[in-house]
Symmetry: C2
Subunit: 232 residues, 2 copies
């Protein structure tokens, strides 16, 4: 991998506590691969041959039900490790990862994982924290789905997207990858129709400004109130 990446990678939480020399050894084993917009990094149920760190771009991770419905599990942001099915004791990927913009990732063979961890226990500790915080997120989402109604869930989803992938423009925070109504629906367990209606209403109130595969939040504070306030 090119040298300029190393300085970026060295500061990632995943490599906290890893000695620079060891980090070099680890990085030497990786190759960097580009994924064009719309191509998949891996597919659900496919054998988990590799694990990854995203360097640049954005991925949508999604699960498909037996009857073909899709659910967006999360979006991967640069710096995150993903596809660590093998570390979790699986032999196949539990979901599909799709590049929503041109993306670049470091790729290791899954088989290297046990050796890297044995040599570098910090990796295991950091991985527990990563997986742990994803578990928290998932539980938060379960609670949301159980207790909140659709408008509130969409508000939360947008705020989360803004936090992870928000690009500040003059007129609010823009989500800096293409995202459709359908995508938001699949994040919140509703339909694109309902999302469209909600966004239209918010647009009228000056809360958001959106169009084709594009959403920007004009008034994050008001949206936050809407997301948190017990309905009144």
């Amino acid at each position: 991998m090119p040298n300029l990446d190393k300085s970026l990678v060295a500061d990632l939480p995943m490599f906290a506590g890893v000695e620079p020399d060891d980090l070099n050894d680890i990085l030497r084993e990786a190759q960097s691969i580009r994924y064009q917009k719309g191509t998949s990094v891996f597919q659900q149920d496919e054998e988990a041959r590799s694990f990854f760190i995203l360097l640049h771009g954005h991925l949508r991770v999604m699960k498909v039900t037996p009857d073909g419905q899709q659910v967006v599990v999360r979006y991967v942001t640069p710096g995150e490790i993903f596809g660590i099915a093998m570390a979790m004791g699986r032999t196949t990927y539990p979901a599909t990862a799709l590049a929503v913009v041109d993306s670049l990732a470091l790729v290791w063979p899954s088989a290297a994982w046990p050796r890297l961890v044995a040599k570098n226990p910090s990796l295991a500790v950091n991985t527990i924290q990563t997986v742990g915080s994803r578990l928290q997120d998932a539980h938060t989402r379960v609670v949301e789905m159980s207790t909140e109604q659709v408008e509130r869930r969409v508000a939360h989803a947008l705020l989360r997207l803004a936090k992870q992938a928000g690009r500040k423009g003059e007129d609010g925070i823009q989500i800096d990858f293409p995202i459709s109504r359908q995508d938001v629906a699949e994040m919140t367990g509703t339909t694109l129709h309902t999302v469209s209606r909600i966004l239209s209403a918010w647009e009228d109130q000056g809360l958001v400004e959106s169009g084709r595969q594009r959403i920007s939040i004009r008034d994050p504070h008001k949206l936050f109130i809407l997301a948190e306030r017990p309905s009144d």
Copy 2:
């Protein structure tokens, strides 16, 4: 801790790959504590002073929303590690754990965790797998909540309960701790009224047999069909 527990504990997945001598050291640091039915092991947002392995009994882990609604995150079954907030990089527990029957757990101070893991890297590896499989479960639940309707979700919940805590009787599989309609509702994101109606209907069809805080599944196969079949 009493000797008789050691043989049981040695076979737990959490201690796979740990040398017997090291395991003894680990267990020496634990105390075993009993929790009476109805008492809490720890509370949401409380400082995470300890982590645990359940030896006997059943715990309900739940989250409470700001406006007081409860959601059951999972039930803890003997052999499971729980309350490992600290390993996941948190300082407080993200949920409340309540003994639903008289229970017994091994308890370590959270502060011991880093040392135990440093001495015993297998612990970290096993923890990743444990947390990883909980993450899978949580995602499965998100997908369920997003795509399936209530009856199906309740069916899945019951089958999961039967698997984890089913006691085979002559007339089917009985869930071997007290569980109310309200509890099932909080597991599936619905109301106790709806759960009651569904169970009544199933009772008429001879699928289940239930009463006050008690559910047994008479025909697991039919229930499974109901849970999996695309509605028809």
